[in-house]
């Protein structure tokens, strides 16, 4: 399923926070048209790993390559510019802004008024409505209310829509996208992941739900105590084996 060349790859990543070693020599590759799941117990380093991948943290050691070329990210904007975006565990949503404003936060559309660059709120609203409807199938009652008044699922939709709004998006990272969702909305989200994969994106999903992982992923990366306990093909493994790797009673085949 995966092509030969990874879009983005991490090599020997180490991340220390003061005395805490959150990541210890971790490798990771993401291929276009493939869903890579990351699983692992609490504190295994999953969130830290993908924050490094998306430029939020800088690794203490190790390097990242994009299309095989060394790639240095000073900030998250660098990642976005190169088509890498993420939906974080604690939804990164500004409650007081409207859905459209959140959707384009950090990448506003602009127009020029009398030589000044101004935000094009009208166009952003139209675009946001379109992205939510076309790509996610969500229609909000009103686009003018602050996002805080939306339901959990609707907020989640806004967060995902923000990541997928770029037409040049190549890598999408999702940290526990279904953790707070009801069954219906979970199903919706998994479908969305599959649709995005079909569009050729490389998708990285962190999840505690092995059911979900087995439903959507192509490969599973197991984190354990800051290290990679192994990467397995979803089709070639079983629930028990992955569980064993997470707990530490089994190692990768």
């Amino acid at each position: 399923m995966a092509s030969q060349e990874p879009i983005i790859a991490m090599h020997g990543i180490v991340k220390r926070f003061g005395g805490v070693v959150a990541l210890n020599n971790v490798d990771l590759e993401a291929y276009p048209g493939e869903v890579l799941a990351i699983v692992g117990d609490n504190g295994a380093g999953k969130s830290t790993l993908i924050k490094i991948l998306t430029g939020v943290y800088q690794p203490t050691e190790g390097k990242i390559t994009l299309d095989g070329k060394p790639f240095q990210m000073a900030s998250h904007s660098d990642a976005i510019e190169n088509g890498i975006d993420a939906v974080y565990q604690n939804l990164a949503i500004a409650d007081h802004l409207t859905p459209a404003e959140n959707l384009f936060l950090g990448a506003e559309l602009t127009k020029s008024i009398a030589g000044f660059t101004a935000l094009d709120n009208k166009r952003m609203k139209a675009e946001a409505t379109r992205v939510l409807k076309d790509r996610l199938g969500v229609q909000l009652k009103s686009m003018d209310v602050p996002t805080e008044s939306l339901s959990g699922g609707q907020r989640q939709a806004v967060a995902i829509a923000r990541a997928v709004r770029h037409d040049d998006l190549r890598v999408l990272v999702m940290d526990e996208p279904t953790a707070a969702l009801g069954p219906q909305e979970t199903a919706r989200t998994l479908e969305l992941i599959k649709a995005l994969k079909a569009q050729g994106l490389a998708i990285i999903v962190i999840s505690h739900s092995l059911d979900d992982v087995f439903e959507v992923s192509d490969r599973i990366h197991v984190q354990r105590r800051g290290q990679c306990a192994g990467v397995v093909k979803t089709a070639e493994t079983s629930n028990e084996e992955v569980l064993g790797m997470i707990v530490g009673t089994k190692t990768a085949a």
Binding site: L105, L136, G153
Partner: protein, 375 residues
């Protein structure tokens, strides 16, 4: 994903007025003042000259209220603006009076100095990671100290026409120049808030700083921008004050900080960040000026003015919070409030304190010596 159907499909009345609630508080208070003065002292209060007077008073605070709206929306606060205004206009005054700089350039230099001081505030807060409140408080001491070191007790007075025009000019006939300047800064602020990256990020930073950081917004940089804007506007206010009084000294503008913060908060901008209202800030500034003017017109003794200001500020903020509160069904009146064991405990505390006061007073009157009024 299912939209929650428990809400009504038609936006309710309260949802409709929601965006305007921010300045309903000050507006209601302004209305109350207008009605009251309409009954008590209509002729004197509603004269054109008095309205101009109110606007002139308010004008001084408009640029600062605009900038403070941005600062507070980012969950910041700036307690140094009085000193920034004093220091930058003291330097301007020296440049004009001692070094013969042209007024326009000295005024521009003052604005740049204000920006520089704002920049320093911003860097202290973002790079040294000193909390806003304490950082600007300390910088207030520093700037005021410099102003005093430079000017000592000197009063610099009598400035070129440009400066007095900025401070109290009438050359635009329909409105005094400072009012026009104040309104323009507010209009620019409104535009910035709604239609620039800076405004958008201001709200998002105040709403959720971590989220903003993760979205790739340069949080620290935009916080610095807000302080730079604040410093510049404080310097502008300093120039306006200099022009208004045609004089400046190092101890000028002692109450800028608190007046401006009160106006902005009364106007519905949230001290908890994320909720900004430039129109509300205008309303807040007007409310405070109208109130002081009304008190003077009513010939209220000065000391009561202070009491009245405090009460009006609390009432308008409380009114606003009350208007905004959604879950109002749960409370259910006085009786229910007294049912609440916490309220009963607080009541008991109150009774205790007041009781102690009464008992002590009675004991003192019985056992106390004779009055001895020799100051």
């Amino acid at each position: 994903m299912a939209s929650s159907d428990t809400t009504l499909d038609q936006p309710s009345f309260s949802e409709k007025i929601e965006p305007y609630i921010s300045f309903l508080g000050p507006m209601a208070m302004i209305l109350a003042i207008i009605i009251f003065m309409g009954i008590a002292e209509p002729a004197r209060y509603f004269r054109v000259s008095n309205m101009t007077q109110i606007l002139l008073d308010a004008a001084l605070y408009m640029p600062m209220a605009m900038a403070m709206t941005f600062v507070i929306t980012q969950r910041g606060i700036d307690l140094s603006i009085g000193s920034v205004a004093a220091l930058s206009s003291i330097i301007m005054a020296f440049l004009i009076k001692q070094y013969g700089f042209p007024a326009w350039s000295a005024a521009l230099i003052a604005l740049c100095l204000g920006a520089l001081m704002g920049l320093i505030n911003g860097l202290v807060i973002t790079k040294f990671k000193v909390p806003d409140l304490i950082g600007t408080l300390a910088m207030d001491l520093v700037y005021r100290g410099f102003a005093l070191v430079i000017a000592k007790g000197l009063v610099l007075a009598r400035f070129p026409d440009l400066i007095t025009e900025i401070g109290r000019g009438q050359s635009l006939t329909f409105l005094p120049t400072p009012v026009v300047i104040g309104l323009i800064t507010l209009a620019i602020g409104y535009f910035m808030l709604k239609s620039t990256h800076f405004g958008r990020y201001t709200i998002s930073i105040g709403s959720n700083p971590e989220a903003s950081e993760m979205t790739g917004i340069a949080v620290d940089r935009h916080r610095v921008y807000a302080y730079v804007l604040m410093g510049t506007m404080a310097a502008l206010a300093g120039i306006m004050l200099t022009g208004k009084l045609n004089a400046i000294q190092a101890t000028s503008a002692p109450y800028f900080n608190l007046h401006v913060i009160a106006a902005v908060v009364v106007g519905g901008t949230s001290l908890f960040g994320g909720r900004a209202s430039i129109v509300g800030s205008l309303a807040g500034v007007l409310l405070l000026s109208m109130m002081i003017n009304a008190l003077v017109t009513l010939r209220i003794e000065f000391f009561w003015q202070s009491v009245a200001s405090g009460v009006v500020i609390i009432l308008s903020v409380a009114l606003y919070t009350w208007l905004q509160k959604k879950d109002r069904d749960g409370s259910g009146g006085m009786a229910a409030a007294l049912q609440n064991p916490d309220n009963r405990k607080l009541l008991k505390l109150t009774v205790w304190i007041v009781g102690a006061l009464v008992v002590l007073s009675i004991i003192s009157m019985i056992f106390g010596g004779p009055a001895n009024p020799s100051g």
